[in-house]
Symmetry: C2
Subunit: 471 residues, 2 copies
Amino acid sequence: MPYFDAASAAPLHPVARQALQASLDEGWADPARLHREGRRARLLLDAAREAAAEAVECRPDELVFTPSGTQAIHTGISGALAGRRRVGRRLVVSSVEHSAVLHAAAAWEAAGGSVTEVGVDRYGAVSPDAYAAELGTTTALACLQSANHEVGTEQPVREVAEACRAAGVPLLVDAAQSLAWGPVDGHWSLLTGSAHKWGGPAGVGLLAVRKGVRFAPQGPADERESGRSAGFENIPAIVAAAASLRAVRAEAADEAVRLRALVDRIRARVPELVPDVEVVGDPVRRLPHVVTFSCLYVDGETLLHELDRAGFSVSSGSSCTSSTLIPSHVLRAMGVLSEGNVRVSLPSSSGTSGTSGTSEEDVDRFLEVLPGLVAGVRERFGAPATTSASAVSPEVSESLVVDALGRRCPIPVIELAKVIGDVPVGGTVTVLSDDEAARLDIPAWCGMRGQEYVGERGAERGAAYVVRRLR
Amino acid sequence: MPYFDAASAAPLHPVARQALQASLDEGWADPARLHREGRRARLLLDAAREAAAEAVECRPDELVFTPSGTQAIHTGISGALAGRRRVGRRLVVSSVEHSAVLHAAAAWEAAGGSVTEVGVDRYGAVSPDAYAAELGTTTALACLQSANHEVGTEQPVREVAEACRAAGVPLLVDAAQSLAWGPVDGHWSLLTGSAHKWGGPAGVGLLAVRKGVRFAPQGPADERESGRSAGFENIPAIVAAAASLRAVRAEAADEAVRLRALVDRIRARVPELVPDVEVVGDPVRRLPHVVTFSCLYVDGETLLHELDRAGFSVSSGSSCTSSTLIPSHVLRAMGVLSEGNVRVSLPSSSGTSGTSGTSEEDVDRFLEVLPGLVAGVRERFGAPATTSASAVSPEVSESLVVDALGRRCPIPVIELAKVIGDVPVGGTVTVLSDDEAARLDIPAWCGMRGQEYVGERGAERGAAYVVRRLR
């Protein structure tokens, strides 16, 4: 049963499991104690810190372990902002950061700070120049992910780090998605990571703060982890995390080549096999194991369930999945189609220990079942056939209004597609919708269909989206 | 090699280990995902929450898991204070709370709140009346531990909870030390615990907030754990924590009887075997597995090392251990001797799985080696013989000044003891000392020796402690 959601969490690496077992016996005591059990725990913690620091390319005394990547981000951002309070209160982030970063930014704003979001291009990448332009004299901290968690696009971290350096602004890099593949290139000031993304156990994040970076930990004092992470150290998990980081790095070069070929195959084949699909994210500057695409006229949650029933575990940034009513902020920032969104992230194999990662056969089978599943979902939703937009209806009227109020994605887009042939070329269709996804998906549909998106008007309820038929 | 520091951390319970192993395979995925791995993880998390809630005696939806007991306390306190911001800004705590509580209180004070510390008696317990008297109309939150972590004294939680209820003030109970032994008696509003204290793994704390208690989580938003604990859920460890809590509870009644007998033996025998020892903490209302005593004229760190070399792992609240220069705040609040302090906390055995806990033989051997080790340390520090205070020196002068500036405990007290015989009955000895422990230990010495502690005067450096010879 292929698991294609490694970017959410990866199964425990065999090396992590071995290290965890061993250190459950050796590393359970309080490392602050002077007795032999405490000293033994301290030795394990020190060794893990050295191994992790080597992988991150920092000094051991610059790195602390936190209970999660999320907490590493929260602590790193709040500590760096407080450390540079005198410089200013501005925080610069990209618009496609992980929600942990954006939530920390929102908390900072609520506490009276200011936040500047740097937009991204259609591939999800910031422009170094645009980023640099936002670094003023009052910026306390800048944040940029090493690579995007939803679409796999790598960010120009080295260039942005240079710009930050020139402006005297510390840069925090959220490296959660990329640490398995290698250290972060460029002169970052703070760096965060999360062990369960690289085959380590849950319960371990890491935060590196370069010497010389002003840093003032917030919250109640706690002497552990240099005062930067409160609570009893989770040494067995930390040891396992460090061991698995080292192990995945040893396998990274080979696995990257192998998975990149599989991802390229998906990127190339899906649009050939499935009509009306948009593959998103940078085709070249990307993580080796992540590929994301969106399917027009498809409900993301239904497609996920169908894939799950067929044995494939994927995730989705569609608004129609899980509890949220709004599409992923990443897809919104990129301005790409969000409906029927599927993220495929392939787990690595750990060659030395015989765990099978993603195989060619898994990917082949995925490509085999996907077209039928998408077609089935579209049929169920009454989606128009791919060619319907150019058909001319017998009853032509200059403009039409489609009331899709109260209908969730992908219905508003489907309704639009059904009637576009009912207006003449040059005529307009106005879609009334109160579904947040429509704001993203109607313009995206226009792009895919060669129709003109005129714009959005206010309406009594929801919004009115105006589309002009061009062909 | 007997490990007598269970109150710091207990070795992993065999049941916890089994549960951890099993859930490493089943519980590594993201429980927010809709695919089968995510659903399986969610089921494990839900089951663990139910088991833990049952042990804590609350509803499952009142309980969240945190990455540590410390974070449960920090989150519980900050959330409850924020939830009752309109009522007032006063936080009431006992003076012998765990440092996690006192650090959260200090952070609250630094942020403009006010903190009232309720003192304790010589056994380390608060008086319910004294506690109740501090609950005014502007108190947002009260905190009281179920039992003290350093001396084992149980607090009158039920009575204090009643007083809090009458005053309309929510009570947060830090139950870290007692949850292994049973649920907390009384109508608490919030409760915190820490798995590694009950034989669970590190990396798991719990926070229960009763329905109806106003609670506003602080810090960046995060949808997991009811918005009360940020970061990826550590499900394997949570499952192990819940399983071991259930397991230790099943064994608690028998183990309590067994360990209480061993502790009573230590409490009775140590003062018989070792001269000039003060056993501290309530003799009856106490945790079954903790006993603490202090040895006059002894350096805590040296004694710890000697015990460690003899195979016994204990901890100490002496100032002369670890990096701190001040004695434990618990011993200070109790007003008892802090030098040569030793806490013995006995691990439970897990009968069903054959792990050996503390045996009678371990305790016997401890009682066998302790007197010689204490005598050795005293000799090394040049401590006076037990009877020296009543000897009369040939050169009698009405008052003497002993300069112990720059000397660390136990030297100031040893110097005092050496010269008390050099003044006549009614005469005084003034000890100049800049060691924080002297403030506690000189009055304690007077109590043990039947001499009068006159008081403390300011001095150019440190303080001057005046003692009058009475016998």
